[in-house]
Symmetry: C2
Subunit: 233 residues, 2 copies
DNA sequence: CTCAATTCTTACTCTGAAGTAAGTTTACCG
DNA sequence: CGGTAAACTTACTTCAGAGTAAGAATTGAG
């Protein structure tokens, strides 16, 4: 502890420090305006070290992306693993998601809010990360539905639709939580489950909503399919 | 038509052409990597014209932002205005939202997917645009609930929560629609309404979902070292 | 036709930041 | 010790792209 005079730090450690700071700066500024100089300075070293260890700015960003995606998926999985009933696993997973996003806002921003302004290599990795998260949710949704209904099994498309709704809602609620600091991840999750899950249960149970007679639909056949929206896969 | 040789174009027209191209380029590349030169070239003029008319790159982006936000809100409002029952107005509004986002993907990307990498002036305008969209949805939700339940009136917070869920889900479903080209905005909207709206009706009617386990405190878990994640590579 | 306003261009300046060459210090191993 | 590899630095080069100066071409009014 008193040995803090060690300026020299082994590569493995320094790399993580660099990535730590890079996540912060990328989240704050975005990919392009973020300068490697600033990241290096925050990490307590000079720029060439960054290039020595991470190759390029793009490589640095990819490292951030991979590490944070891994962490998020890990948190999600770990939370859902030990719980028994699928319905609860979904709840635990979403809860962990909110907790993670609340605690590591920078990670989420880097993972999610960087659609454009990126080279193809990075775009591919972002897509991969998104798919990984989405796949976790999709799995939980499918299991949860099967359990809750006892018989209904969602097709890929349905489960994917639901997963998109949940992830999108969760993302948006991340913003909402910023203006409601008293809300905990658990409370938000419960509310979301209440809105979406109860609805899904009932829809699968046969309680549909549909627009009545369209008074003046511009271009849509009125009654093509009445209530067979859900179990088509 | 050889008469199309009119090189000179009045300012008002040229400005719109510039903004048209700017929206495309900003959406494709993101704010910083977008070059004013490229925008100018696509608009058929040279760079100084852009600066003469729009002041700066930031001014150009702000013009894009304002115009597209106005268009989206207008589409939303117009769709919802003529319909009678609030529940249907919500449906019409969301439907218009999907239709707009499907048709004008660039507009939506510029409006929504540009969180960081922006100066404070722009950030403020983005926030404004988001709030405008959110306020529309919130209004429809509140009316819809009041109508559907007959008595329940949502507080600001509740309505805002629901609006965030809907907008976030809609945004995410925009991605989903890309891999499902046969889906129409109407069908997607109906599915979303089925998931969210039916659930909300029932929740407000007293059918709650809650985790069976009594709320175990997130801050003080009993034993947290069950499954280790030592290997992170 | 003339003149003035508007539209538009060529040809710069200048800054910030990615990436690198070449060398210097520290740590550890025998 | 001494020497070697790993950790680290200073001091560049290079380039893209924002922003501008100065003036040319077009149009329309009188």
């Amino acid at each position: 502890m008193s040995d803090k005079r060690r300026r020299r730090v082994p590569r493995q450690v320094r790399e993580q420090q660099i990535i730590d700071m890079a996540v912060q700066v990328f989240a704050r500024r975005g990919y392009h305006p973020a300068s490697v100089d600033e990241i290096a300075e925050l990490a307590g070293i000079s720029k060439p070290m960054v290039y020595l260890y991470l190759d390029s700015k793009e490589g640095l960003f990819l490292a951030c992306l991979r590490r944070e995606a891994e962490r998020l998926v890990a948190a999600f999985r770990k939370a859902a693993r030990d719980v028994g009933p699928p319905e609860l696993r979904l709840w635990a997973g979403l809860s962990a998601f909110f907790a993670f996003v609340t605690e590591h806002r920078d990670s989420w921003v880097v993972l999610h809010r960087q659609t454009s302004e990126l080279s193809t290599a990075i775009t591919a990795e972002v897509a991969r990360a998104r798919r990984a998260v989405m796949a976790e949710v999709t799995g939980l949704v499918r299991d949860g539905i099967a359990e809750a209904t006892g018989s209904v099994r969602l097709g890929d498309e349905e489960a994917d639709f639901v997963a998109h709704v949940l992830v999108g809602a969760a993302d948006s609620l991340t913003d909402w939580m910023e203006s409601h600091p008293d809300e905990t991840p658990e409370r938000v999750t419960r509310r979301l489950m209440n809105m979406v899950w109860v609805g899904m249960r009932n829809v699968l149970g046969g309680e549909f909503w549909e627009p009545p007679e369209p008074p003046r639909t511009p271009e849509a056949p009125p009654s093509e399919e009445a209530g067979e929206e859900s179990t088509e896969g």
